[in-house]
Symmetry: C2
């Protein structure tokens, strides 16, 4: 593997000239440049990015630390990030915290000296881990989590408002007994969605203690909840599942049991995963533009790398859209149910 020294020797010039020629500085003769380039070609020299980033003090790489890599949600985030990063000639270094606190700490530490900036999506539990491990010296944008306490810029989804909207929608379409299939207890998104549900029930159905069935965002847990319904244990005419995957599980069990959706029970989810429009009946849900989460965060990070000092007050919060489909009786004629328009910046 040829080094710059080899190239310089081959071209009969100094390493400094070789370096300058390769990087296109203007203080090199055309003749010298030609000699150097010939040597580069002959030795098929490729600059060693590691060594280069050591002196330049930049790596053209940003670190992306996610709690997991499972499912469409994360792949969409990464795609959104890549879209913007690639446009700026940046590379992506993937770190995976695999749920554990220890992994998270080491994932962040391992980024030192490898990246110019960090995009972090904290795990569900103990986000305070971040403050212990994040380095103030390296620009960081937080994904999907309100990082006001850390005073870091962040990009998040307004889960509360979304859940509130879909719950109200179910009530307005005539549901009297809406039950909620919750997500994992330790998951922040899930908690916010549950809170939005509870508040909407209190405000619009005068129901202060609505039924909340446990779930964990998996299809199986959605099925489990639906089995309770068909067993008649819980009277209900509508279900709001904390995510689409569980809603899909609900629908399949209800259908097998001969319950009509939405005739007997309306069902709604959250996320608008691609599957949602294809299941039968098609699923009413709150649409989250996941890739925009990633691309927006990356854009903010690029600004920070350019020197802008962003803080928590520069956060972007996306409010999800209601998508009314067949599982709640089909789309609404006018925009009766289309509650929240997407808003950027929450201030």
């Amino acid at each position: 593997m040829a080094t710059l020294r080899d190239v310089a020797k081959e071209a009969g010039v100094s390493v400094a000239s070789a370096s300058r020629a390769i990087n296109g500085h203007d203080n090199v003769t055309a003749a010298t440049t030609a000699k150097v380039m010939a040597a580069v070609k002959k030795l098929s020299f490729v600059p060693h990015s590691g060594a280069r980033s050591l002196t330049r003090r930049k790596t053209d790489t940003i670190g992306v630390i996610l709690p997991d890599l499972f499912g469409e949600f994360f792949s969409e985030i990464v795609r959104g990030i890549d879209l913007v990063a690639h446009g700026s000639g940046m590379h992506l270094l993937l770190g995976n915290m695999h749920g554990s606190a220890h992994e998270t700490a080491s994932a962040i530490r391992a980024m030192r000296g490898r990246v110019d900036g960090l995009l972090v999506m904290p795990p569900d539990v103990e986000p305070e881990l971040l403050s212990d491990n994040l380095d103030a010296a390296i620009p960081t944008v937080v994904l999907n989590y309100d990082a006001t306490l850390l005073d870091l810029p962040y990009v998040a989804i307004d889960n509360y408002t979304g859940a509130y909207a879909v719950t109200r929608f179910l009530i307005e379409r005539g549901a009297r007994r809406v039950i909620h299939v919750a997500g994992p207890k330790h998951n922040r998104d899930a908690r916010e969605r549950q809170r939005g549900f509870a508040d909407a029930m209190a405000d619009h159905a005068s129901e202060r203690s609505p039924v909340i069935l446990p779930g964990d965002f998996t299809e199986e847990s959605g099925k489990e909840a639906a089995r309770l319904l068909v067993a008649g244990k819980v009277p209900a005419d509508a279900v709001f599942a904390a995510n689409d995957v569980m809603a899909v599980g609900c629908i399949s069990v209800l259908a097998e049991a001969g319950r009509s959706v939405p005739g007997d029970i309306a069902v709604a989810g959250f996320d608008d995963i691609p599957l949602a429009r294809h299941v039968a009946p098609s699923l009413t849900t709150m649409q989250v533009k996941i890739d925009r989460l990633g691309s927006t965060a990356m854009t903010m990070l690029l600004r920070m790398l350019r020197g802008d000092a962003l803080t928590a007050s520069d956060a972007t919060i996306f409010t999800p859209h209601l998508i009314a489909r067949a599982s709640t009786g089909g789309p609404v004629s006018e925009r009766a149910g289309a509650v929240a328009a997407e808003s950027e910046n929450a201030g």
Copy 2:
């Protein structure tokens, strides 16, 4: 940002001792180690991975170069890779060739000095780009492409056999006129699937020029093909779409037009994306364990990094399984249609 020199000074020892203490070498006194560790903590020192990898001549990072990041296919591959990589303490550097030849070359070059090994999935067109840009010095495993010409180890899917199997299955279940919705012409997977289809038609339906409708792997192109069918332009009693996404498009148009699936027309796809089991009717397809593609490739790369010299003869080829679902009349009682068992290694 503290450096090793700072730590050494703070601890009152030399940089060599500091380095040794931090890396847990055995030729350091417990007392020295304690002093160094105290300094590390006090200055919250984190070793600079870039500098470290320069001397160690390894980066603990492997580069992953994909043609795109869109959809479940790539996310599953990356997840499979990450699973194995993480187990060995490796990081993943993502490179995206975004379709273009120029991008591909620069993506590969940019990896020099950043990674210990490479996992490359060549773009559909001009895979010979690889030979020009790949570096013999850096261990490389090729994904989803027969790299025999490059004599590189690779992991691929037997698209031909899969397509042949599903086509034969349709014929054996009584279809007389099976039509194929093809993938993009420049796509190797698509071409192989089409070839498998054509051969199966010739062998089992004595049909030497079966109808092949154009498609490009998108849902819309699947719909377009189905529109031709409902318009009666093409007589058909079964459709084999080159991927699941197009098959799903077909089904939705057929359903809207009042055609019964599988009553009037049976439909089968390829890939077994998560969506496949959820659409109505559930979709018969060839199951490809995408994540295993990634994890297997990563495992091979790790072997190479350990010094094993793998070549094209060490390739792993996965043969997809037939999954018979409702869109072709439901599962088969015995294993009549379950043609191909998964086989590892093609030799």
